[in-house]
Amino acid sequence: MRFAFTDEQEMLREAVAGALARDLPLARVREVLACGDQTPVRALHRAGGWTGIGVDEDLGGQGGGVVEQAILAQELGRAAAPGSLPIAGCLAAALLAGGDTPEADDVRSLLCDGTAAVVVAIAAGRDAGTGLEVRDGRLSGEVPAVLGAPEADVLLAAVDGAVYEVAVADPGCDVVAHAFVDPGRTIADVRFDVAPARRLGAASADDLDRLTDLGAVLIAAEALGAAGRLLDLTVAYAQQREQFGAPIGSFQAVKHIAADMLVDVETAHSAVYHAAWAHERADPQQAAAAVSIAKSFATTATARVADAALAVHGAVGFTWEHDLHLFLKRAHSATSLYGSAGAHRERLARSLNLVAETSAVTA
């Protein structure tokens, strides 16, 4: 039993954090958000090789697994990095992992070197949509709330155990973006209307729950990063801001809020990396429980951290001009993506067999 990053994982974390601090400071984040052009952010991902994390090196990726993807997501959250492609790309890579056809290799290499934005048409919300079907090589159906879809060049769909690819530019593919509360995230309802679909090979899993679970882990990791940054901002502000002739951080009321934030950040860290490890390495039942623990506990804790940060900052933290809301909105909106805390607690409760006699039938 070891619960610590390996040297390689720590090096990855430092490399990602260093590149983001250098090339994507908050002023740059705001520029990207204002003009809506993600090109420089995508260039940064390509340059760092981050688009291939979690894909085996012999398949053209950078190696690593879900823990490495979570490290990336956490650091992106810490930076309030704009764009939902990194997480969407991890889901795409996972879906393609089952396919060893030339077509699957083709899309995977575009994904890994960052030349195409590949997104899985899978719902991040409660509504799974109408169900997708493929007839005569054409895909139809609706999927609401697809994270990253507004940035996609290519959409992947899992239908009857196979993966299909649809070009977003095709007239049969309709992507209607929502204005999302976190300006750094993109989300859209996707509709396929007899869109030409290329079969890429077998899907990696027989159901999409594992894919949704991967999304849940990475969203929780991103929220953890945002919460860690909020704690740093709050401590720095409490040291510098003076009221009643003293730094507000010297008041016990403020100290105790900050200490509770630390407890939330550290325990969320435990939950997130446990889930990342379990999703890849543990048996399916254990993995699902670990993900539900992370999504219910960690995203609740990190949302609490955001509120506490706002409480310590006071009114200045409520202004658009202050950076706090970039992180607060990332942490808050994480609670709504890939399963609410309540939904994940219910799944956990079901796995605990709280009603011994009937659960075997209903589960």
Partner: protein, 383 residues
Amino acid sequence: MDLGDSAAEAAFREEIRAWMGRTVRLLPAHDPVDLHERLASFRVWQREAVRAGYAGLSWPQEFGGRGASIMERAIWAQELDRAGAPDPVNSIGEGFAGPTIIEFGSQEQKERYLGPILRGEEIWCQLFSEPEAGSDLAGLRTVAEPVDGGWEITGQKVWTSRAQIADHAILLARTGSDRHRGITYFLLPMHQPGVTVAPLRQITGEDEFNEVFLDRAFVPDAARLGPVDGGWPIALATLQYERATIALGRINVQRWVDELIDLVRAGGPEGPGADPVVRQRVADIAARAAVHRLTALRALTRMADGAPPGPESSVGKLFMSPLLVDLCDLALEVLGVSGRYLDDEDGGRWQRRALWVRGMALAGGTPQIQRTILAERVLGLPR
């Protein structure tokens, strides 16, 4: 990063799980409330542990121990919890006094004291804290006067767990005026006229804590540990062993969660397990218990690497106290009014736990003190 057992760890876990499963069957299903009855259970357990070679798990092999690694000790603690092992009433002997004697004791002292600790024959308590020397331990006032053949100790100690069943105590007493370089470390025999143990009854109705009055209690010079006036560094070593023991300690979280789940399940299809509100709360508690264990594993990994404790090791207690309160309160809610009946087997047990965890939240620094310490020492907020 590998949260699963290595092959060797898995084998060790399997081995001790089988042994513990057999051994708990020799004992009552639930640990007795009365301390003396608990002592009887513990002695049965310890006798079996000696026979199987598990006594003194962390001690070096030359002193009868097993020389176990931090992770083996963690697995041992997890499995103790899982098996429902009896209260380790000699944790001060095996966890603090023994390792300190191994590190600082003379050959004669090792031969005299270590065997009886290992075999559970002699129980130890810790006479460090005083009414005016709690967090500020070096402020202690109990004095040791040299007399023919040894020392006479006079003073008062407080918050002493299990003094009423202890045969020996690790004791700090003042032999000089210098705050730190005037303290000597003794191994005090408890059964003598100069030692008076006055139990402090707690709100649970139990009296595990005591005040201990020392009135010219005699310690032979052979039972002085380390040099005269040289006790402070030895005391710090004991406190290190204490912290390691607490970090690894049996915290009973998973077992209590399992008992809560059994309680909910016992209501059947129409019972509390069908109530979505109860289901949500049980799941929340199960999740937090898992997170607590995982955070402890992070701290243990650092300890195993010999690295200084990180922030994760200081949040444990603040996180655990409300978790235990919520856990016990939910069990009491599920039980209904019978949860408040001390003569009901389930009720009595959960009610005692519900009170006990509220005291545990205060021990070793109240949550408010803990928050202030975290804010100042870990986050660097101004004093």
